[in-house]
């Protein structure tokens, strides 16, 4: 679209299709209308629900403080769209510029935004996964079903996997007074995302709240009773855990299968995009009419050597949606890059965990403020002599400072004193991340190689 008026015409009467009607899709649609897009807008969503917010599902909803079907996202403005909800997209024809839907319909577009997100990685043994009482938690329906079961007061809940979601689920169960066992193959909870030093604090939190936490073990099998209800789990250390609710929390899989064969650079690691959220095709050539945003996208990040980052973060979905929408409507010189520093939060066992940057890329950690023992601290992560990430346990107000250090690629360890520096913060220590060649479900920031068309990496669940 050069300066021949075609962009103006597109903004006036073009067709934009958004596949994936969740947070990123909705925010992109709002931005498109905010920025004056007057053409037709179609929102395609696999789930039958209008866009809803997921973070409450593992917190308020499991605690019984909110109902899963009342989590619809507030609207910033009206988007005047055609909504095709409950109909998954099944294929993309890039040459004909059409999206195929599960009901056989085809929707033509001038520009396409893909924000299909991720889904829970299921329990790998299908017959066991189908036992009554085995859950995953990703969608509103998952949340509603699990909350209902927890309200019935199960005798013991088993959570498989102590990443953020698994830990939040365990926390909610504890708070409801339920007996909980957590099985984690790593050395501690959150180890993939935050390393072993902070993971040890997370483990302490779990145990102090009465969680039966078992690390370094895998669940090898789930057993059902005669009526098809889950009854127990076998662990790799030979032990058995009797549980009537099992929640499989082994991370997520990107929803890209529907793009197989389309020619788009989409694979298990997501859809490769440039810094402006334009998708690459499998030849490594950037498209100009297909964009991606949110959990399904992976973008090169200037702060991390332009390596492609996949981020399953709420804030990343919002900011990429804004960038993608803006760029869809802009001349090439007016386009904006996505440069936000990654950030996420988790609430578990009464503690607010927040992080900025990419802790999982760090090799060392310095407890710059507070104390691990008190579960109130700021940890700063270093990589090759620079600050690359930070995490705070109940110390959120300091994080903007550390974010600035990350943005400025400040030296690590930080050469200055701070308030509340304790004896365990005098020198950096090994951040103790697991061997990156061992697949884990934990990291919230994943490096997935330099090549935009890299589809070699595959994930094989260890369970």
């Amino acid at each position: 679209m050069l300066g021949d008026g075609s962009l103006e015409r597109f903004r006036r009467e073009g067709r934009i299709v958004v596949v994936g009607a969740s947070l990123a899709g909705l925010r992109a649609a709002e931005t498109l209308r905010d920025q004056g897009f007057a053409g037709s807008l179609t929102m395609i969503g696999a789930e039958p629900h209008e866009p809803y917010d997921r973070p409450p599902l593992s917190k308020q909803v499991l605690l019984g403080r909110a109902s899963a079907d009342r989590t619809a996202l507030p609207r910033r403005r009206s988007v005047d769209a055609n909504w095709r909800l409950g109909v998954p997209a099944t294929g993309l024809d890039m040459a004909a510029k059409r999206v195929r839907l599960a009901d056989g319909d085809e929707v033509p577009y001038d520009r396409l935004l893909i924000s299909t997100g991720v889904r829970s990685r299921p329990w790998p043994h299908e017959d066991q996964a189908e036992l009554d009482g085995v859950f995953v938690l990703r969608t509103r329906d998952d949340g509603a079903a699990l909350a209902r079961r927890l309200a019935e007061g199960p005798r013991r809940v088993l959570v498989i996997g102590a990443g953020f979601t698994g830990s939040e689920i365990a926390s909610a169960c504890c708070e409801r007074g339920l007996a909980v066992t957590v099985a984690e193959r790593g050395a501690s909870p959150l180890v993939g995302a935050l390393g072993g030093v902070v993971g040890a604090v997370a483990a302490e939190l779990q145990r102090e709240h009465g969680v039966d936490l078992r690390c370094g073990v895998m669940v090898t099998a789930l057993e059902g009773d005669a009526s098809g209800r889950v009854r127990a789990a076998q662990l790799s250390d030979g032990s058995t855990v009797e549980a009537d609710v099992v929640i499989v929390s082994l991370g997520a899989t990107r929803n890209t299968e529907w793009l197989a064969g389309s020619g788009l650079a989409a694979g298990p690691r997501g859809i490769a995009c440039d810094a402006g959220c334009r998708a690459f095709d499998i030849r490594g050539i950037v498209t100009d009419d297909v964009y991606a945003a949110g959990d399904v996208a992976r973008c090169p990040h200037p702060l991390f050597g332009y390596q492609f980052l996949s981020l399953e973060h709420w804030g990343n979905a919002v900011s990429q949606a804004g960038i993608a929408a803006h760029n869809m409507l802009s001349e090439s010189t007016d386009r904006l890059p996505h440069m936000d520093v990654p950030a996420f939060w988790s609430a578990q066992f009464g503690v607010n965990i927040k992080s900025v940057g990419a802790p999982s890329l760090g090799t060392e950690i310095l407890v710059a403020q507070g104390s691990l023992k008190e579960h109130r601290f700021v940890g700063v992560y270093g990589y090759q002599g620079r600050v690359i990430g930070a995490v705070a346990f109940d110390q959120a107000r300091w994080l903007p400072f550390y974010q600035e250090l990350i943005e400025r690629t400040a030296p690590f360890p930080p050469p200055f004193p701070t308030v509340d520096r304790r004896s365990d913060g005098q020198r950096p220590v090994d951040a103790d991340f697991p061997d990156p060649s061992v697949p884990t479900h934990g990291p919230t920031v994943t490096l997935s190689g330099y090549s935009p068309a890299d589809r070699r990496m595959t994930f094989t669940p260890a369970h």
Partner: protein, 411 residues
């Protein structure tokens, strides 16, 4: 004669309108002369320093070489240990947490919300008692007594003692605002006496509450056994004094500055009269436009810190001029316009970071209720003098009197 910006901030002649001084100051975002403090006047630099762990609030970290005209023993009685306002973590966090346990969420989520009806009652009573509508001193008759009464109710000071409490609070407040014509020795003595008497009174009340606790904040603070332990009597006195002094003067100024600003913007006053819900954005915009705390002195650097290209050495004294940051055109469009319809209003009126105003939610409610009630009940209110006479204090800035008249008081 050209004065240095530092002197112009302190110069009483600029009290009624300090904003041109700040505008000049912002041309040098980090201003410093001789051995004086480093004065930070731009929004982003201030906000960044408020979240910077290299900045201490503990005066013991100040280098003795610094000469700061706002430093030294003033606001708080030196006989008491420093309150959390002047401490760094972990002590700050511990004391603030222990105090908050009985003031706000998560442990006391309904304390402030539950005071709405009582606040409304106090406000109505004060307006009812205004008397001659032809000449009202809003400060004496309304803004001043309101927050003292609120703090008495919050702490659980018995009604029959409120009058004594008011007298001490007045004397202490006056000592924060030295009248240059008064004899300093006498004023100092008066304030010292008032502090001693207030301290003894509070100590007695604490003892009484330990024996017969009620559901007020002082009883809870005195008897609590939380995860952080129990406050010592000295810590408790220090905290109560902080709540009283920090919560009093600032609220007086917020309400008085608010009414002054509304009377200068009659169209907004008119809208507020028609719709009391407008009080919410009006108060937020007031906190930006006329913040009760103009600047935060008494912060110091624990290391050399570079701000806007200027190296501030370790141990230096900082002034963070919140009121100037709030008028920074790099942050707010048309910053000198009072505009309650502003959508982007992340002001610095309550500070930011770990020391952000402890009483902010209560101050918000007090100001919202006071201004909407005044707008509703005063018929055709007008200023009798503009600008009004100001207090001398450059930090806690506000009118000493606000003389207004109206045609009558509505029921």
């Amino acid at each position: 004669m050209t004065q240095s910006p530092l002197h112009r901030i302190l110069d009483f002649a600029n009290r009624a309108d300090p904003y041109p001084v700040y505008e000049e100051l912002r041309k040098t975002p980090v201003y410093h002369e001789d051995d004086g403090p480093y004065v930070i006047s731009t929004y982003y630099e201030i906000r960044s320093l408020l979240h910077d762990p290299r900045i201490s609030s503990d005066a013991r970290n100040l280098s003795s070489a610094t000469r700061d005209p706002l430093a030294g023993p003033d606001q708080e009685d030196m006989a008491l240990p420093p309150s959390f306002l002047r401490l760094d973590p972990p002590e700050h966090d511990r004391l603030r947490r222990m105090t908050n346990r009985h003031f706000g969420p998560p442990h006391s989520p309904h304390r402030v919300d539950g005071m709405r009806a009582e606040l409304h009652g106090i406000v109505s009573g004060l307006v009812d008692g205004i008397g001659d509508p032809g000449r009202i001193d809003l400060v004496e008759q309304f803004s001043y007594p309101f927050p003292v009464t609120v703090i008495c109710r919050l702490l659980g000071v018995p009604r029959e003692d409120e009058a004594r409490f008011h007298t001490w609070a007045d004397t202490i407040a006056a000592s924060l605002d030295p009248d240059p014509d008064a004899d300093p020795a006498e004023r100092g003595r008066g304030a010292h006496d008032a502090r001693t008497q207030l301290g003894m009174y509070l100590a007695g009340l604490i003892e009484e509450r330990r024996r017969n606790p009620g559901d007020d904040m002082l009883s809870e603070l005195a008897t609590a056994k939380g995860p952080d332990g129990t406050m010592s009597t000295m810590e408790l006195l220090s905290t109560a004094a902080l709540l009283l002094i920090a919560g009093h003067e600032t609220t007086v100024n917020l309400v008085t500055n608010g009414m002054l600003t509304l009377l200068r913007h009659p169209e907004v006053l008119q809208r507020l009269r028609a719709d009391p819900r407008l009080a919410v954005p009006v108060v937020e915009e007031l906190l930006r436009f006329e913040p009760p705390v103009q600047l935060l002195p008494q912060r110091t650097t624990l290391a050399d810190v570079e701000v806007h290209g200027v190296n501030i050495p370790k141990g230096a004294s900082l002034w963070l001029v919140l009121a100037s940051g709030n008028r920074d055109p790099r942050r707010f469009g048309d910053p000198d316009r009072f505009d309650p319809d502003r959508e982007d209003i992340q002001h610095l009126g309550f500070g930011s970071g770990i020391h952000s105003c402890f009483g902010a939610p209560l101050a918000r409610l007090e100001a919202q209720l006071a201004l909407s009630e005044l707008a509703r009940r005063l018929e055709n209110p007008r200023l009798l003098e503009d600008p009004p006479p100001y207090r001398r204090n450059a930090v806690l800035r506000g009118p000493r009197h606000l003389h207004i008249a109206c045609d009558g008081i509505r029921a």
